[in-house]
Structures are given as C-alpha cells and as structure tokens.
Symmetry: C2
Subunit: 146 residues, 2 copies
C-alpha cells in the first residue's frame, strides 16, 4: 500500500522535518508490515545509526498524533505501532494472548448523551476492547486438556 516516498510526502504535508531517524523508523515499520513495539523499532534503528530511546518515543508520538502511524496499547501498558492505512477515527479489539488486532469501525463518542458532552470541550475518546481470539482459546483448551 504505502511506500517510503508516500510517507515522506505525508511528513512534508504535516511540516515534519525529514530526519534519518524518522525515515528509518518508517522503513522499519514498512519492512515489518505489522504491529511493532517501540523496543523493536529502537533495535531496528539502532543497528543503522546512533539513536536514543527517547527520540524513538518522541517520534512515535508525533507520527501517531499526525495520523501517519497508529497505536494500540496492550493491557500490560506496552504500546504497539504500525503504519496507519485506515482513513478516519477508529478503535481496536486486541487479543490478550497473541496481541492480534481487529479494527473496530466505530466510536462510542457518538452514543454519549450530548447534554453531558455540552459541558466539556476538546473531548477525546479512549476506547479499546480486549479478549481472547478463537485460535488462542483453542490452543489453551488443548494445553489444559493435555
């Protein structure tokens, strides 16, 4: 879907400076093509150039905030990142065992009584579901049955 040139255009459009580290983060995520931890991204970049962990975190933040990346949080508070291929606001359902991510094309904000929201501005919505996917349930059944 996306390639590095496209992502660089997106950075330009958002007035983000195109640094070697940023390019490396995006290249790493493109290669992986899947949800990845900050630690794994750090390892990837570090083998290619000098980089500090805080720089990785700061970049993952800005790239996520500008919609270039997408972030989900595991229940143990470890975050996963991937290139954002989806237009518009959405949420996720995450497997508690294998961390598989299912996209939920729904935002609960729309269902909240407007009277309540009336008194608040800049309302942000944190919403995620966590469960065990079918495959992990079955694996677990087998393990326990053994």
């Amino acid at each position: 879907m996306s390639n590095l040139a496209e992502l660089e255009k997106m950075m330009a459009k958002r007035a983000l400076k195109q640094t070697r580290i940023r390019r490396s983060i995006l290249r790493g995520l493109l290669e992986k093509g899947d949800w990845t931890t900050a630690r794994d991204i750090y390892e990837y970049v570090k083998t290619r150039q000098k980089v500090d962990f805080s720089t990785i975190y700061r970049n993952l933040d800005t790239l996520t905030a500008t919609g270039i990346l997408c972030r989900v949080e595991r229940q143990d508070a470890v975050s996963y990142y991937t290139i954002n291929h989806h237009e518009g606001h959405h949420h996720h359902l995450i497997c508690k065992s294998c961390q598989k991510v299912v996209l939920l094309d729904y935002c609960p904000l729309q269902a909240i009584d407007p009277q309540i929201l009336e008194n608040f501005s800049n309302v942000e919505c944190k919403f995620d579901l966590y469960g065990f996917c079918r495959e992990c349930q079955e694996q677990n059944r087998n393990t326990n049955a053994k």
Copy 2:
C-alpha cells in the same frame, strides 16, 4: 454513604483478609471522600504505619478488582482511586485540567457488532473520555485574555 464497618463486611464477603494496611487505605479514602492518587494514599498510610509502595499498589488493584474501589486513569497514566458507590459496570469522563470525574452510565460494548465479538471470549472494555470542563475552559479564557 459507606463507613469503615460496611467496607470491612465487603472485604469479608470477598474473602479478602482484613489487614491494618487495608483498613488504613479505606479510612484514608473515606476521609478524603474524593478521587485520590496512589501516592497520596501511600503518604496517608505511611504516617500511620510501616508500608511499602508496592503493597499499596497491590491493594488498590485487588480492592478495585473486587469492586470495593473504582479507578480512573488520567491521560498521563496517573491513576485515581475512590470508594465505589456505584452499582454495576460504568465508565468516566475526566477533565484534562482539574481531573474532575463525571460518571457515564453507558458501556460501548453493547454497540459492537456481535459478529465481531463472536470470535473473542472474555471481552473487557476500556473506555474513557477526556475533555476540558466548563470551569477550566473559562479559567483558561481569562488567563489568556489577561
């Protein structure tokens, strides 16, 4: 509403041992009568007896898991706890400035396509809204206008 004796009965019903520290945590929260950080609870208990921070966290966890306490998370990942006066599952709207908490008597899980949930078991719902309450908006306007 609740007093310590009532809370002790709740602990007994849930087979939680009644330790000095647990009583102290609950007494502190009753005195405060409002959302409180783990740090503040730790300070309160520490002035009364020897206690380690990890014990505070472990107790806040178990007391929350058993429904005796209620927890909300600030956007910067600091948690607030209070005695749970509410029956049943619910969520919160939290002011990003003063941390005021509004109860949302709604769970978005009900609105999710059952076909999606069918493939997952033990689904838990993380849902919170964050915004600026009217008072904080006005204060900010004044500060900026000055």
